[in-house]
């Protein structure tokens, strides 16, 4: 297990190098320079001034040298300053990271909580009305653009029914609430973003769970289990379910880039001050340092998710551990 873990950890280094290399060059080589923004905001700026600004940011050097410098700084956790307000990029991200992580972790929990039972039920009742309806519904929700669902949910719950607040993560009087009041206020604000951002995933994952379960139920070992007289409950939940759950672990790892990508849209819709909204603002301002730092952060989170998924897979399935 330890060798397996070490191998996986070492494999992260070239991956991260590749990701930073590609994004650095793609973003730097895209037509339109970051300094141009300052120029376009100020029509009186002279050519010398632009040159000076470029020099200040080190943007007059060859790209490879710039990449080397950037990489060196990254290793020391220095991502430079934000072009828009001059604050340290690391600070700006850190103060917003916890919100995004909380929402995404809650979404993942929701995902499991609903997708697994729905998928299992749909598989067990494959040829009944319930089975057909869930298949149809999951297919439908899988195709629905989630930001549209968010808009519809806002329209219904925040405007027509007035049950939930429409934006942000806290109310104006948040400071003065008791501890429980704060928790209640936060949950009222977070419930829509969390549910809506997990709906697409629930639909996808339960479809996956359903086919995995059907597949497992048709395996020879299920015949064996049944023919030796095990109860249906034991056959389904011990023998079939445990095997059908295995691939799910990997799927969750793969769904992390999607969740974090979705954060950009969700946080913009619900005005949530997380890293998704921060990234959107950074992209609009062409704030290159901030953009690069977030790309690295999200890549690291993705790889971390994959790593955890792989380790859990190796943990639950010993065959993986001993394979070379």
């Amino acid at each position: 297990m330890i060798t397996y873990l070490a191998k996986r950890l070492i494999a992260i280094i070239p991956l991260l190098l590749g990701i930073t290399l590609i994004s650095f060059f793609v973003i730097r080589m895209a037509p339109g320079k970051p300094v141009m923004l300052q120029q376009s905001l100020n029509p009186k700026i002279s050519l010398e001034e632009i040159k000076r600004l470029e020099k200040l940011e080190g943007m007059d050097k060859p790209l490879l040298v710039q990449y080397k410098n950037w990489l060196w700084n990254m290793l020391r956790f220095n991502f430079g300053r934000s072009i828009s307000d001059g604050r340290l990029v690391v600070d700006k991200i850190m103060e917003r990271l916890s919100v995004t992580l909380t929402i995404n972790i809650l979404s993942l929990l929701f995902l499991f909580l609903f997708a697994i039972p729905i998928g299992v039920k749909a598989a067990l009742k494959a040829n009944t009305a319930f089975g057909h309806i869930t298949t149809f519904l999951t297919f439908l929700f899988f195709a629905a653009p989630t930001f549209w669902l968010a808009l519809l949910a806002m329209q219904l719950f925040c405007i027509q029914l007035k049950w939930l607040p429409i934006s942000g993560i806290t109310s104006l009087d948040f400071e003065y609430l008791s501890w429980w009041g704060k928790l209640a206020d936060l949950s009222r604000h977070l419930v829509l973003p969390v549910i809506v951002s997990s709906i697409g995933g629930i639909a996808g994952l339960s479809r996956y769970m359903r086919s995995g379960m059907l597949e497992a139920l048709s395996q020879p070992y299920i015949y064996t289990a049944r023919s030796k007289g095990l109860s249906e409950k034991l056959v389904v939940y011990k023998h079939a379910l445990r095997n059908a759950l295995l691939p799910l672990v990997t799927i969750v790892g793969l769904s992390i880039p999607g969740l974090l990508g979705g954060s950009i849209i969700f946080e913009s819709i619900f005005s949530i001050p997380g890293i998704g909204k921060l990234f959107y603002e950074a992209a609009m301002m062409r704030d290159i340092n901030l953009i690069m730092a977030e790309v690295v952060l999200v890549a690291i989170l993705t790889m971390l998710g994959n790593l955890i998924a792989d380790i859990s897979y190796a943990y639950v399935d010993p065959r993986i551990r001993y394979k070379k």
Binding site: S23, P145, F147, L151, I159, P257, I265, F279, A283
Partner: protein, 263 residues
Amino acid sequence: MKNRALISGIVFIIALSCVAAFAPLLSPYDPAAINQDNLLSAPSSAHLLGTDSLGRDLLSRIIYGARISLSVGLVAVGIATLIGLSIGCLAGFYAGFLDMLLMRLVDVMLCFPTFYLILAVTAIAGPSVFNIMLIIGLTSWMGVARLVRAEILSLKEREFIQAATAIGATHFRIILRHLIPNALTPILVNATLGVSAAILIESGLSFLGLGVQPPTASWGNILIESKSTLGVAWWITVFPGLSILITILGFNIFAEGLKKEIG
């Protein structure tokens, strides 16, 4: 044995293509025509799906939006499939070092926060339909590459490939005439699902204001207005989203039908 999913998928895709192709004939109004006397009017017999905050006919804008969605979906997937096909063929056919290198590139791209990169590039390079097609295509070829590689690895030991090698066919010919045609159906399934994904990305980008720019209508950028008209004009939220939903559903059903064909 009838494959209902496949048939309804094909019918849908043909219908949508017709809507996109004959948009000028089908739409009742000019999609960009501003009408000051008819701002945010509810669906009626004059404007079947209502009008937006500039008085433009929503139905016409949605019909024209089909052009954007369909062309972004098809071109982006075309680019992705072409790249994926080439990389998958190279990796599968010439195993060894090249294979290792290309597959590591696939790993890197799969860990990539693609939506973040797409957003950054469209923001810096400037949002245009062409840029969006290109960048979606360049960031979504990994699935095809893996698929083609696996297909080729399993196909290339088969006798008909050995026979082709024996009669002196060039590598290029073997790949193009013998390997790719045999891997075509899974590639097509992948491409169909890719169209759905590309349409979703485009609508998301346009919704964020970094996609197709107004006054050109796209389903995503019509929805921008829905944030400010929530509770005032439900039609602006409902209909463009419904168009996206139905389109994605259509392509997914087609893909489902194709999968059934393979068995």
